[in-house]
Amino acid sequence: MAKVHVTTTINGEPSEFLCEPNDTMLDALRGPLGLTGSKEGCASGDCGACSITVDDNLVCSCLMLAVESEGHQLRTIEGMAQGDKLHPLQQKFLEMAALQCGICTSGMLVASDALLKRNPKPSEEEVRFWLAGNLCRCTGYDKIVRAVMDTAAEMRAQ
């Protein structure tokens, strides 16, 4: 199978990679691009551990072909902190114990960030339904929901 050459932008940086036409974006991120922060929990779009944004749209990278990224702007967990400055969500997750094993954390953070960009003042219900596509088996979601709401309140105050 001939590999395809793809030119895209990942976390603000121009990127090129080779992939099989049937590789998913998650395969490309974790393989040739070496960005293993996005996780594969199911490969069927049911767990959200591979969440990224494409042109600010939240998607599961396991449900997107790598070749489709040509010319688009992708953001992954690796691009969330600005240099050594954590995103407020990352900081709040740490402070509020909103992670345990950490396998869902990348996806949770990327999805939560996408929520707050659209809705800076989400209700608890809105947070819960927005994050329904991100499975967490450790926390019971309590601390995650609180961390997202606290971050939103703090970001609004700034």
């Binding site: 939240l58 449900l63 596509g133």
Partner: protein, 289 residues
């Protein structure tokens, strides 16, 4: 291993040409939220993938001169949600499209894909059926139109001819006093496939239902247009007798199966419950229009 090619043409003609040439090995890629899962599971092994998202007609939401809408088949749920007017005119269709999968899936999945996947449980289909959507299809022999309920042929099958692609959904303009709603039953609050899904579109004049359509999903090999339920509603003030009759009509229309998602008895009963609830929501919305 089979060779796979990926194409992302800019025009529909190009897409159809390639799709026809690929024959049964061709697959259309819109959001890919079903196709990629099927590929990963080894259920389908396409030789050609035609990505239609670069074709502007298929990714555009157009408000037509008569006040209706033309929604490109590859418009994502999130894009439809973000349209300033669509959800005000067709709240039921929007809530149905927005129930397809998670927010992540919403960023990709489309009503066109949901329809062509051929699942009787696709959320957008009963709402589109209730809405009276007309589907524009293009193929090697040109364009044709079909009422949406005539597209599915059975689980995983459609009435599209070889080489045909669903281009868009046309939704009619709304008379005063009209609205729609969609409800589905799932065991969890999110992330499940509908056990029963039901869309109602209706028009009220002075409290009397003057027009109604009911679409019912996940209870038969294809999504059903339940005309008997609509007849029970039309001419009534949506009183208990009319609602009971319409609910009974929905239950009677069910031809469900027992499977891992629900039982025959459960689905049959729930269809009636959802008819009442969905009608109440649509009526409340219609009163404000």
């Amino acid at each position: 291993m089979t060779e796979l090619r990926y194409l992302a043409p800019n025009s529909l003609d190009e897409a159809i040409k390639a799709f026809v040439a690929a024959g049964s090995a061709g697959r259309i890629l819109a959001g890919g939220t079903d196709l990629l899962v099927q590929m990963r599971a080894g259920v389908v092994k396409p030789g050609l993938i035609v990505d239609i998202k670069k074709i502007s007609e298929m990714t555009t939401i157009e408000e037509t001169a008569d006040g209706g809408f033309r929604v490109g088949a590859a418009v994502s749920g999130m894009a439809l949600h973000d349209h300033p007017r669509f959800g005000k005119v067709w709240p039921g269709v929007l809530e149905a499209v927005n129930l397809i999968g998670s927010k992540q899936v919403q960023g990709r999945a489309s009503a066109g894909g949901n329809l062509c996947n051929g699942s009787p449980a696709g959320d957008s289909v009963p709402a589109m059926v209730a809405a009276g959507a007309i589907v524009t299809i293009q193929g090697p022999d040109g364009r044709r139109e079909l009422p949406v309920e005539q597209v599915p042929a059975g689980p995983g099958r459609t009435n599209l001819k070889p080489g045909e692609i669903v281009v868009s959904f046309a939704l009619p303009p709304r008379p005063k006093g009209s609205s729609d709603a969609y409800l589905r039953m799932i065991p969890r609050t999110e992330m499940d496939i509908a056990v029963v899904g039901l869309g109602v579109s209706l028009t009220l004049k002075d409290g009397v239902c003057t027009a109604a359509r009911v679409g019912l999903g996940a209870v038969a090999p294809t999504v059903l247009l339940v005309e008997s339920a609509a007849r029970a509603l039309i001419g009534s003030k949506l009183d208990d007798a009319a609602l009971n009759a319409a609910a009974a009509a929905c239950s009677a229309a069910c031809r469900p199966i027992d499977d891992k998602r629900g039982t025959i008895a459960y689905r049959t009963k729930v269809a009636g419950v959802l008819l009442k609830r969905t009608t109440a929501i649509a009526a409340k919305r219609a009163e404000g229009n």
